[in-house]
Symmetry: none
Subunit: 128 residues, 4 copies
């Protein structure tokens, strides 16, 4: 399992971790029931603080993605988030933001679709 962090990136490390793990699940590199490294191990591997790694796991546990149990590390509980009204609204907001930024840069519908599909293909192809 390979997780790489970008310390220059503004987004918090724990948030990058959350997204990375979700991406690994998307790529089927992590399946339901699979176990993840212990917080301590992960923190050491990535050269970050224990608390930061713990926070990422905690967030994922609260979202129902991970099951973290004492003495047994963490494992994947669910391979997809629930898509309720709140999540839908949130996603829509992000789409709006991206679209407006793209439009301002002169990037239109076709190019945007292509970028998305390219990324989707990249994720799916990496599935063994």
């Amino acid at each position: 399992m390979l997780i790489s962090l970008d310390l220059r990136d503004q987004t918090p490390i724990y948030e990058q971790l959350v997204q990375s793990i979700k991406e690994l699940i998307n790529r089927k590199e992590l399946l339901e029931g699979d176990s993840l490294p212990t917080v301590r191990q992960l923190a050491q591997d990535l050269g970050i603080n224990l608390n930061t790694a713990a926070r990422a796991y905690r967030e994922l546990a609260k979202q129902g993605i991970l099951s973290v149990r004492q003495g047994r590390g963490a494992s994947v509980l669910s391979t997809h988030g629930r898509y309720g009204p709140a999540e839908q609204e949130n996603l829509l907001k992000k789409v709006k933001r991206l679209t407006n930024e793209a439009l301002f840069l002169g990037v239109g519908s076709r190019r945007l679709h292509a970028m998305i599909d390219s990324e989707l293909r990249r994720v799916k192809e990496s599935r063994i």
Copy 2:
């Protein structure tokens, strides 16, 4: 000119302001040469801190979008940002983030394209 901020939103107010102004330009509600209110006026209208409004203008000036003149408000310099390698990479990163999040929620290519096109249409139709 109508700008609405969402104070509950996590994204910084100055960033919301930057995006709102870009959106106004996208909608042709702001054309090249149009003038914007002074920082003081804008801050008062929106009920935000003066520094916050000033920062938004500063960011836009740095990107070459606005021309800010001491004490006389600002005016639109350019109606589109430059799309260099850095911006391209940045946009791509955002596309990746959005795509992965959508995929995790079970939202695929078709739905994503539809959301984007819907937003693009919304922006373009609002142009008088």
Copy 3:
């Protein structure tokens, strides 16, 4: 005897075990003098750590509920806990917590009473 644990639950496994056994006693499925499986047997049946099962028995023994005999399992000593000042205060604290949480969710007296009585009925009816 049927004990089911919820590993996803935050509450410690040994604590769940303690409560489960108390519930079995409440339901008269375990009567005074009845014997329980050995720690080893119980741990194996439930797929939990031996220490965890041992701790549950230890707690129950400390409360005077179980009599644990080395290597020969345990047996029910008493079918009810003593209700002293400490226990009373403890129970009151739990009631307060529950009440406040319910109130915050808009669940009032009537609904709370109904939930409790429903549970009490469930327990008593399962008594053969």
Copy 4:
């Protein structure tokens, strides 16, 4: 506003804080829109670490109870939590736990109802 922590209690400080604030809201000592002390102030007043206080606020913000904004402290957003299926199930589980414990101690329906109503009255009467 009065918040008291019990350091002997097993429940985490940040959790006690979360519950205390919810209780203050229940008692109408905190109304929608009311502002709370800054994280630093709260931490100092209670003699706890800044991070611990911040975590409590963060949890409440994630639940939509508090609105925490940069430079402006926190304020009450909503005076009640959403009561969806997950919350209902959770509450039911707690009721079951409490009921079983009470039953084991010989505390029955009537006494339990009385304790709850007493607490409910206590909370409501403290409302000015």
